[in-house]
């Protein structure tokens, strides 16, 4: 699930951090820059593993802060395709499931990757929700909210940042767009698509 990536970055150290030892100050700056952010193709940055080298310390003209070039390693959350991960259920709708790891919530299991054959029933506890039930050998196995669910990673996508539209549109078009945007989910820079369609996947209660 976790991979180390080596990065080199040039960063500006604000003057108010000059009283701190250099390593700690650079580490703090790197954490505020990278922690909990997604880097394209590398994954979600979880932690700064260590700092390999710090060069520079030059002060550019007109600037009060010194600029350093640091080489460091980050712990990235980047599951590989085919990895089996345990997660909890976050949402269950007619389009499939949404699973969560606590620190990462954008894991979707769409309908084609649900265990076959299945049937759905409306969920009594959640408005607009759907309860998924797997049918196997005459028995019904539901997917409940308390379960620990194992899924296999099918794909990991990094959708590009959405481009702001609306400079050319008229008044009434922009109202329609606002109502559509309210229904849309907030932008997710990293989306994992999971599959439950194999032996041993799904809630652990089904197999243990």
């Amino acid at each position: 699930m976790f991979v180390m990536s080596e990065i080199e970055h040039t960063l500006r150290l604000p003057p108010h951090l000059l009283n701190r030892p250099l390593n700690a100050a650079i580490k703090g700056e790197l954490e505020s820059l990278f922690l909990d952010k997604v880097i394209d193709k590398l994954g979600l940055c979880v932690s700064v593993y260590d700092i390999l080298s710090i060069d520079g310390g030059f002060i550019f003209p007109g600037d009060g802060a010194s600029t350093y070039t640091a080489r460091f390693r980050l712990v990235m959350f980047r599951p590989y395709v085919g990895e089996v991960i345990s997660a909890r259920l976050k949402e269950s709708t007619k389009d499939g499931l949404r699973l969560s790891l606590g620190f990462f919530d954008d894991i979707y299991v769409p309908v084609p990757l649900m265990p076959n054959p299945y049937h759905t029933e409306p969920d009594p506890e959640h408005k607009n929700g759907t309860r998924w039930v797997w049918e196997y050998m005459g028995e019904n196995y539901p997917i409940d909210w308390a379960d620990e669910i194992r899924f296999r990673v099918h794909t990991v996508n990094y959708p590009p940042l959405p481009v702001e539209q609306g400079k050319d549109s008229e008044q009434k078009d922009s109202e329609e767009k606002d109502s559509r945007q309210k229904d849309l989910k907030p932008f997710a820079p990293m989306v994992i698509t999971g599959s439950l369609d194999a032996d041993g996947l799904g809630p652990t209660a089904w197999w243990v």
């Binding site: 991979v3 979880v46 194999a198």
Partner: protein, 146 residues
Amino acid sequence: MKILQSNAGVLTNCEVLELLKSRGAGKDPTRVIAAVAPSEFKVYDYLEQTVAFKQTIEIIHKFVEDCKKYDLANGEMLNVVNIRPSSAVEIDPIIQDCDSRMGDRIDEFLENVVQVLPPYPSQLESNEDTAEDKEETTDDQQTGVK
């Protein structure tokens, strides 16, 4: 920002947990004093709920040594260490072509996994509960006899 090496090494859940613990994640109940950010605490909370909580680096080294004879890919060994499957059906999605590659040695491999890697704490508790129930029933029988 320049990416020098996008894959400088894979980390097991245990190693990430050790890294967070070395920064003081486990010891601070207020979660403010330790040098650990809130997002890192979320990762710590997740990893605490997995089997990685009970593992140590030595256990993982021993497991890797023992598994050399099964000719598993690195990713498969990593997955087994992170998940700790205890039955053949749980191993099936982790190891590709399980039947053709492992065949009869599956049981031997499972024995290895279950012995070397410590189980998840709730599994231990459920075993202890059943043991306590047995003790209570025997006590009742004894008082009944008296």
